[in-house]
């Protein structure tokens, strides 16, 4: 009996593995004895410049990736239509998908656009314009400290302040509490749409081979599914939902931090008082969204509030650090998309919660959600990074 079962299992595994084995053989055949005579023509070279960094007034660095299917050689570099000296990390020839840094010793001037052109061995050119260049700050304790402070100011503190509405929310009648939840859905919906557009914008500068738009779409969808699967395990307890909201907002704030950090890294941040204040006003609305699910019923322990606040707000700091140290549009677009997915899932979940406790589609709730969108739009005007 046992032997038969083992055999049957073995046969099942073998059956499952057979297509893979055949595929491996087929791949091996193509790699070692290609049956095709080399194909028709030559693919076009494709090199993408993901971004530039300007560590000092004498240096321009282009971060490039060979997105094409064949190796390419960067034979010359032009700066504003003039041949210029340069070095390529790892040598001038890039294998497919190879990343490299092209360093050009050029005395650039802040504010004056820089036109950079890579001339490939076949004469094809890759152009990149650095608009109004500014020095890229060196990553040191001072910068990290600044970013941490900014993160606290625009992330942790506003979310914490917003959470202080909790006692007031507890005194609300159901109808109004549901309206507050619906308002939070509006807030989150705004963030999702806003971040979605931003992700697609960043995806424009993602090297072609990484398929930026697909990365964004499936980054968001994948996160939604992932968070949904986590949420389904915990049931829809109010505290669990609050954590999910905090996680979603946290992922969104991570992306926000990333934007701040990379603006810093690219020398693009002017964190004046207006901007910081704008962020604070904008993000304070995220606080009630986090605590709204637990406003009804038993009050959770204080440590949960601290944890919720940290989960929702602190990622701004982390995002700022990552963004300043390792800016890449690919990573940036992915992070933002993950935030979008998380927020969408949270919107779904909160809608479900209102439906469970009463009616979702009341005029009050719909207007409250609309108000959430409107308030976010209005406060967003204060934030122009």
């Amino acid at each position: 009996m046992g032997v038969t079962t083992d055999r049957a299992t073995l046969r099942r595994y073998a059956g499952a593995a057979l297509p893979l084995v055949l595929l491996a053989l087929l791949v091996g055949w193509f790699l070692y004895a290609p049956p095709l005579s080399g194909g028709a023509g030559e693919p076009l070279p494709q090199v993408d410049v993901s971004h530039t960094t300007l560590p000092d007034s004498e240096t321009v660095r282009l971060h490039v990736v060979n997105s094409g299917p064949e190796a390419v050689t960067v034979s010359q570099v032009l700066v504003d239509d003039a041949y210029w000296d340069f070095t390529v990390s790892g040598g001038q020839t890039l294998a497919p998908m190879e990343r490299a840094t092209v360093t050009v010793p050029y005395h650039w001037e802040p504010g004056w656009d820089l036109g950079l052109t890579l001339v490939l061995s076949g004469g094809a050119t890759v152009h990149h314009t650095v608009v109004a260049p500014q020095p890229t700050p060196a990553i040191d304790a001072g910068l990290l400290g600044d970013l941490a402070l900014v993160g606290l100011l625009v992330g942790v503190i506003p979310v914490g302040l917003g959470m202080l509405w909790f006692p007031a929310m507890r005194d609300l009648a159901d109808r109004w509490l549901h309206a507050v939840l619906a308002f939070a859905v509006g807030v989150l919906g705004f963030l999702a749409v806003d971040a979605g557009f931003e992700a697609l914008e960043v995806a424009e500068s993602v090297p072609g081979a990484y398929e930026g738009h697909l990365l964004v779409a499936f980054g968001a969808l994948g996160t939604l599914l992932l968070v949904q699967s986590v949420g389904s395990g915990r049931g829809s307890s109010p505290l669990g939902l609050a954590y999910l909201v905090a996680l979603g907002i946290g992922l969104h704030n991570l992306a926000e931090g990333l934007a701040i950090g990379s603006a810093y890294a690219l020398g693009r941040a002017s964190l004046g008082a207006t901007l910081v204040v704008g962020f604070m006003v904008h993000n304070v609305t995220e606080g009630p969204a986090v605590v709204a699910p637990v406003a009804e019923g038993e009050r959770p322990a204080l440590k949960h509030f601290l944890a919720l606040g940290a989960l929702a707000g602190a990622p701004v700091v982390l995002g700022g650090w990552i963004g300043s140290a390792a800016y890449s549009p690919t990573l940036g677009a992915l992070f933002i998309a993950v935030g979008v997915g998380a927020i969408l899932q949270v919107c779904w979940e909160m809608g479900g919660m209102i439906r469970d406790r009463g009616r979702l589609g009341t005029a009050t709730n719909l207007l409250a959600a609309g108000a959430g969108l409107a308030v976010m739009y209005a406060t967003d005007l204060l934030v122009a990074l």
């Binding site: 041949y83 000296d85 340069f86 790892g90 010793p105 004469g123 140290a325």
Partner: protein, 420 residues
């Protein structure tokens, strides 16, 4: 000129090592910071390796000044050598070894015959940058032909290119069949077809030949052009001096006539007086490598910066490279440049000489200058002329010359004389 590739490579290696060492310090600092944050390797600029041979610009001491780092990087490979091309004239008697040429008499005329083909090939126009060219005799510019006024120039042309080509002379050709245009005589010559063009070498001057197939822009800018120098015949100059200056025959004094004849003798490769002149051919050309209707490379004689200094720190120190170095000239000699403009996509090209004024003979058809004492001359496409230079008063050293469209200069048409 024989070159020592091994020595050059050793020098390059030394400079690369020095530069890599200089840069590595910087890289370590950045990595240390990143590593401490647990973000090591995340987007940190990878700096090691692939260092430049442009050594001087990266001195550790002077590392904050990169104004000398302009110009194309690296060495050219084998193939067409602008330094050799510069002073190579094909007279039918002698010239470059890969051009079959002969001289013979026919019905009282001296015939200078050249067997020229057209081929599809690639030419290196900046170090490491290959351009798909159509080329006479496999080179861009095509071979420089040199004859004497009154000779017959005969080109046995065979088209080995996939595209149809012609050869059109910028000479006073009185037979429309020989004009080398699609509408006349044999018209365009397809792959494998041949035609023999015969032209009278007139007037004296520096002239141009090029393919006249359509689309003309493509056929010229892909490389189908070359220079024909028609030397004045001193005997004819003595007989008809007014043809070679802007004076009416009644105004030509015996002194002027003697001057014209003497000048003609310095121009004519069959006279001893010509031996005292250092003669050079410079074809100002350019290449659109990315099909945007604008040139990515400009040059005198195809290779960007080939007559440049090599490496420089921008502080007065220079280091010639094997394939990129100045043109050496002797200050006790007179210099003559046969200057031809074949640039496509731009309206004009120009030559400017530093610290020097020259006499200019537009089209080279006169023996008195058409411009006296100028340091910049402008030419439209197909315009050409003779530049007469004298560095006898100058101290030895480097003297720049270039197109005075700064863009052209920085894209390759920047050169140097090293006066010794």
């Amino acid at each position: 000129m024989p070159v020592d590739r091994d020595a050059a490579r050793a020098l390059t290696d030394t400079l690369e090592t020095r530069l890599a060492d200089a840069l590595r310090g910087d890289a370590v600092d950045r990595r240390t910071v990143l590593g401490a944050m647990g973000l090591a390797g995340a987007g940190a600029a990878g700096l090691a390796g692939g260092a430049s041979a442009n050594g001087g610009g990266h001195d550790q001491d002077g590392g904050d000044d990169h104004h000398g780092a302009f110009g194309a990087r690296g060495e050219y490979g084998d193939g067409f050598d602008p330094h050799e091309f510069l002073r190579t004239f094909n007279t039918g008697y002698d010239g470059q070894s890969n051009l079959t040429q002969r001289v013979y008499e026919e019905d009282g005329d001296r015939v200078r015959e050249f067997e020229v083909n057209a081929v599809d090939t690639t030419v290196e126009i900046a170090p490491g940058v290959e351009f798909s060219a159509w080329a006479f005799q496999g080179q861009v510019p095509g071979p420089t032909l040199r004859v004497t006024e009154g000779d017959l120039v005969r080109i046995v042309f065979r088209n080995g290119s996939e595209h149809a080509h012609t050869i059109h002379p910028h000479l006073k050709n009185t037979n429309p069949v020989m004009d080398g245009v699609p509408t006349n005589g044999p018209g365009v010559l397809e792959e494998g077809e041949s035609f023999t063009y015969t032209w009278r070498a007139q007037p004296a001057g520096v002239h141009l030949y090029h393919c006249h197939s359509l689309p003309l822009k493509a056929h010229i800018h892909r490389g189908l052009y070359g220079t024909i120098v028609v030397d004045p015949d001193p005997e004819r100059v003595a007989e008809r001096p007014a043809d070679y200056c802007d004076s009416h025959p009644s105004q030509v004094t015996p002194e002027l006539r003697d001057d014209l004849v003497a000048e003609a003798e310095t121009r004519n490769h069959e006279y001893d007086a010509n031996d005292d002149v250092d003669e050079m051919v410079m074809v100002m050309n350019g290449f659109d490598t990315n099909f945007d209707g604008d040139n990515e490379v400009y040059a005198a004689n195809t290779r960007a910066f080939a007559y440049g200094v090599g490496d420089t720190d921008g502080k007065g120190d220079t280091e010639p490279r094997e394939t990129v170095h100045p043109i050496t000239i002797d200050r006790t000699e007179r210099q003559r440049i046969y200057l031809v403009n074949t640039i496509e996509f731009d309206l004009v090209n120009s030559l400017h000489t530093h610290s020097q004024f020259f006499d200019y003979y537009d089209h080279g058809t006169t023996l008195t200058p058409t411009h006296d004492t100028i340091d910049t001359i402008m030419q439209c496409q197909a315009q050409r002329g003779i530049v007469e230079l004298d560095y006898g008063d100058h101290q030895p050293g480097l003297y720049m010359f270039h197109a005075h469209q700064s863009e052209f200069a920085e894209l390759g048409w920047m050169s140097f004389f090293e006066v010794v």
